[in-house]
């Protein structure tokens, strides 16, 4: 049957499916493939309308050769999924030209389903999922249509049939999705399209963090294990420790330097806080953690200064679970080497700042705490926290401290560490994020790139590394609220340009939060279900023994399939005819059959009624009348409706009499 020709409708549905499957890939497919695919669709339409003949095999061969050359030029030795999908799309496009028999159509649709699935490699939003579901419907309709008789032209039945197939498949999908064990990849694969890097970089110079402050892009989201999130002033998310200064930029310790640093010792002084982070792709290997994590998550590395690193740049959204403490002592003792490392400064430059620091140092009598107080008091006098601090030249710290006195967090952090180090207090710059927006609908904290922040850690004798945020001295409200709120309240010019006024309205914010909550739930429960699966199933099923899993798979599966089967066979299991007269007649036959004589298959209804009339004299007239009416109804010309109206009361009367007799 596979050599059978398919209907014209089916051809159109195949073309529509092909285009629908192609659409999600347009964002990355090389232009020539898109053009070729659309040209093939157009060519098949010309063939369909009878204007062109089916192409000669030489033409097809030429197209195949051209496509092969094109693929090699576009993808070269690259064997990532893009090359595979591009190859499949080309194959589909060329197959369109010989779409004639049922077998061709089957192959086309099967490959199209595969290509449709690969769309999820490139786009994972809930919209894409909804779109793919619709395309699956279209694809099934096309599959139904190729089974139809070639002469059929109705559009609706294939879609109806596909819907009837798809609807019961959804609960089956859900059950399998929840229960199917997520396996480790069999071989390692990587998407080869390079992703842009976003977020914090591994060095800091004035102006870099404030660039991020204009970005609305999502950085990461955190949900806490049933506990309330820490107070806003405690929400410091560490990402990088920058300990080398070259006079202008702050850098991470080089690998050689890092190897001389011991892993820092953490003494927890509060209950650990469990939480889960969903990090957006950044193209960079560093990860964020709430102030100080107790340990790294699986597959991550912990640096000596307790920041987290991923073995490879984060190219896809990842999810990890951590426990942190916000009250702690870190590294109470420093070795001489470590001390030297955290005191490193260039030998020259920023002379005025050094002089100021030594002046304060004398003033404070060599006590670091008093020195810090003097420093923060200085910032509180006349310094401004702003996103538009103006450019700084050479000796940037001098310029900032004595001329501009305007700066963003990186200016304050950098200057503080410089001043501290110049008088021999070990200090380092820490970058990361501060704060976050609490989403009450899905109970999570959301941090955007504009929440990026830089602060200082200072090492104090007997206390270890202590966090010091000079920004808090200049703009204490910034610590309690988000950057956005802070600058909006102050009407900062650099910030007001970003969003339209209406987006700041309360209802708009609520709406946005709901949407973001939904997206987060989508990511946690669907896109990253593997990390939820075990706990979820344990909670639901009360354990993970094999029999529980098998039952959980079989029971709903059997229920759904049983329901479909029952629906398939519904008329046979149903209670007989729907017509009231026919139903009553059937009941009468059963009752009287038990009482007198059952109707033989060969007997007509009227003949049977007449034999009963002889045996049941009380109802004789009614029986005979009913027999006559039945014959008239079957063979006569009188309107059916009138006869039926006369038959119904007779049947009712007989039914009553038969029941009374029992």
């Amino acid at each position: 049957m596979s050599r059978e020709q398919i209907s014209r409708n089916a051809v159109i549905l195949q073309l529509a499916t092909f285009v629908a499957v192609l659409l999600p890939h347009l964002s990355w497919l090389p232009g020539w493939i898109t053009l070729l695919a659309l040209a093939m669709v157009a060519a098949r339409l010309m063939i369909h309308s009878g204007r062109w003949p089916f192409p000669h095999w030489l033409l097809k061969l030429g197209l195949i050769a051209l496509s092969g050359v094109g693929l090699i030029i576009s993808f070269g030795g690259n064997t990532g999924p893009e090359a595979m999908v591009a190859l499949l799309v080309l194959g589909l496009a060329l197959k369109l030209l010989e779409l004639y028999h049922r077998r061709d159509a089957l192959i086309l649709l099967f490959v199209a389903l595969f290509v449709l699935a690969t769309a999820f490699l490139f786009h994972e939003s809930v919209w894409m999922a909804a779109y793919v579901l619709l395309v699956v419907w279209l694809l099934l309709a096309a599959l139904c249509a190729i089974q139809q008789r070639p002469g059929r032209t109705a559009w609706l039945p294939p879609f109806q049939r596909a819907f009837a197939l798809l609807l019961p498949a959804l609960p089956l999908m859900l059950v399998l999705f929840l229960l199917f064990p997520r396996l480790e990849p069999f071989w390692s694969v990587q998407l080869s399209t390079p992703r842009a890097t976003t977020g914090l970089s591994d060095s800091m110079s004035p102006g870099e963090v404030s660039e991020l402050a204009l970005s609305d892009a999502l950085a990461f989201r955190v949900s806490f294990d049933g506990e309330p999130p820490p107070a806003p002033a405690q929400r410091y998310w560490r990402a990088l420790v920058l300990s080398r200064f070259d006079g202008r930029r702050w850098h991470q310790a080089s690998p050689a330097q890092r190897s001389r640093l011991r892993a820092e010792k953490l003494i927890a002084q509060s209950e650990p806080l469990g939480y889960e982070i969903v990090l957006e792709p950044s193209g960079r290997p560093w990860l964020v953690a709430l102030d100080l994590p107790l340990a790294q998550a699986r597959g991550q590395r912990l640096s000596p200064f307790r920041t987290l690193l991923s073995p490879a740049p984060v190219e896809r959204r990842i999810q990890y679970r951590l426990a942190s403490v916000v009250d702690y002592r870190l590294q109470p003792l420093l070795t001489r080497q470590e001390r030297q490392h955290y005191l490193q400064l260039p030998g020259w430059g920023n002379e005025r700042s050094r002089a100021l620091a030594s002046h304060w140092w004398q003033q404070s009598g060599g006590e670091p705490e008093r020195f810090i107080r003097l420093l923060l008091e200085h910032f509180q006098r006349g310094f401004e926290y702003t996103l538009a601090p103006g450019a700084l030249g050479r000796d940037g710290i001098d310029q900032f401290l004595f001329q501009t006195t305007r700066g963003y967090c990186e200016h304050f952090a950098g200057a503080t560490v410089f001043l501290l180090r110049s008088v021999g207090i070990p200090a380092r710059v820490v970058t990361g994020y501060l704060g976050g927006e609490w989403n009450p609908y899905e109970n999570y904290l959301q941090l955007r790139q504009r929440d990026a922040h830089a602060w200082v850690e200072v090492w104090l004798q007997g206390r270890g590394w202590v966090r010091l945020d000079p920004t808090a001295a200049v703009a204490p409200e910034r610590i309690e609220s988000s950057t956005e709120q802070y600058f909006r309240q102050r009407g900062d010019a650099a910030f007001s340009g970003g969003r339209g006024f209406w987006l700041q309205a309360d209802w708009a914010r609520r709406l946005r939060q709901r949407y973001e909550a939904f997206n987060f739930a989508w990511h946690r429960w669907v896109l990253n279900y593997q990390s939820q699966q075990i706990t979820l199933l344990e909670n639901w099923l009360g354990g993970l023994e094999h029999w529980r899993l098998i039952l959980a798979l079989l029971l709903p599966g059997a229920a759904v399939l049983g329901a479909v089967l029952a629906w398939q066979l519904r008329q046979r299991l149903g209670a007989g005819p729907r017509d009231p007269l026919a139903r009553k007649l059937q009941r009468l036959q059963r009752l009287l059959g038990q009482r007198f004589a059952a109707r033989r298959p060969s007997q007509s209804l009227s003949a049977w009624l007449r034999t009963l009339a002889a045996r049941w004299p009380q109802q004789r007239t009614a029986l005979e009348q009913l027999a006559r009416l039945d014959e008239q109804q079957r063979y006569g010309r009188e309107s059916d409706h009138h006869l039926r109206q006369r038959m119904l009361p007779l049947v009712d009367q007989l039914l009553r009499a038969a029941r009374a007799q029992r």
Binding site: A117, A129, L172, M173, L176, L527, Q568
Partner: protein
């Protein structure tokens, strides 16, 4: 090597399926009569599912897992739909239409199914017959199926196969049923000399002189419905005299006796030649009698007589049905 094995296996399944239920005039297809297996396309689909699952596993992509499971769900539901396309169908044997040996015997069936559902693409086929593809839209539908009739006598068409791949072609559901259906197969007509005997029976005298086919025209009479259209005198119709039927002299000529004994040769050939003449004489609307050994059919004419004669020829020396 694989092909004969497959045919053998199919034959075995067919015989087993046919043995399970007695032959009957009406059959309702219940679940336990219907077989279902994935087709080659279905096997391809399963391979596709496996590839999609591999894709999902390797890229740790839960949405690919989801679409794979959705497709698997559709696959399972399609199995039920294919099964449901046959289940509940009621077949009623109506009759087998007579035919001549070497032709296709037609068998009439009525298909009846619960209302409110469409059944499409059901292929019906007798073991040796040609398949018929139908879409069922009304509550019941009559149809005629054909099966080759190799030899005269009563013909049973063998098992009837109902097969469907609807709606996706991923599964093939089929069933074998044995319907109480018989067709009478007349001998194959064979042209030859008229084996006639004239008179009132046993004299064995040949019809004097008049060769067959030289009927004399006698006159016209008014055309009545039921007369052969060959008798219409078109010339008079063209003259506007209405439909007139030609009367031939042979219709009033003495009775003819077709006698098996008057022919020589192979029995089947002789029966074939008699069949030819039964048809020929009926066409010419002549009275004839038939003598087959000890059986005798008195001279008569008309449709009923023709049928009676053909039936005797078909069944001569043959047992009953079965």
């Amino acid at each position: 090597m694989a092909e004969p094995l497959r045919t053998r296996l199919r034959g075995r399944v067919r015989r087993w399926a046919l043995r399970r239920y007695p032959r009957s005039r009406s059959v309702t297809l219940t679940q336990n009569r219907i077989f279902i297996l994935p087709t080659r396309a279905g096997a391809g689909f399963m391979l596709l599912l496996l590839l999609m699952l591999l894709l999902g596993i390797n890229y740790e992509n839960n949405l690919i897992y989801a679409i794979t499971f959705l497709a698997l769900g559709v696959f399972l539901v399609a199995c039920l739909h294919t099964h449901g396309n046959l289940a509940g169908l009621k077949l009623q044997a109506l009759r087998g239409n007579p035919c001549f040996a070497g032709e296709q015997a037609g068998f009439e069936l009525e298909l009846d199914h619960p209302a409110g559902r469409r059944r499409e693409r059901i292929a019906l086929q007798f073991e040796r017959g040609v398949p018929l593809l139908i879409d069922l839209e009304q509550r019941n539908q009559r149809l005629e199926l054909f099966c080759p009739a190799p030899a005269r006598g009563w013909l049973h068409p063998g098992g009837l196969k109902l097969e469907t791949g609807f709606p996706l072609g991923l599964f093939r559901a089929w069933t074998w049923i044995d319907l109480e259906l018989w067709a009478l197969v007349y001998p194959r007509p064979l042209e030859g000399e008229l084996p006639v005997q004239q008179g009132n029976g046993h004299s064995g005298e040949a019809h004097q002189g008049q060769p067959a086919g030289s009927d004399d025209f006698i006159g016209l009479e008014r055309f009545q419905p039921g007369m052969s259209p060959r008798q219409i005198d078109w010339k008079s119709y063209a003259r506007g005299l209405g439909l007139q039927a030609k009367q031939f002299g042979a219709q009033r000529s003495p009775d003819l006796w077709l006698d098996l004994a008057a022919l020589a040769g192979d029995l089947e050939q002789r029966l074939s030649r008699l069949t030819y003449w039964v048809l020929e004489l009926s066409r010419r609307e002549r009275r004839f009698g038939l003598r087959l050994g000890s059986q005798e059919l008195p001279p008569e004419q008309g449709e009923h007589h023709r049928h009676e004669a053909l039936q005797r020829l078909a069944l001569y020396g043959r047992g009953g049905r079965g």
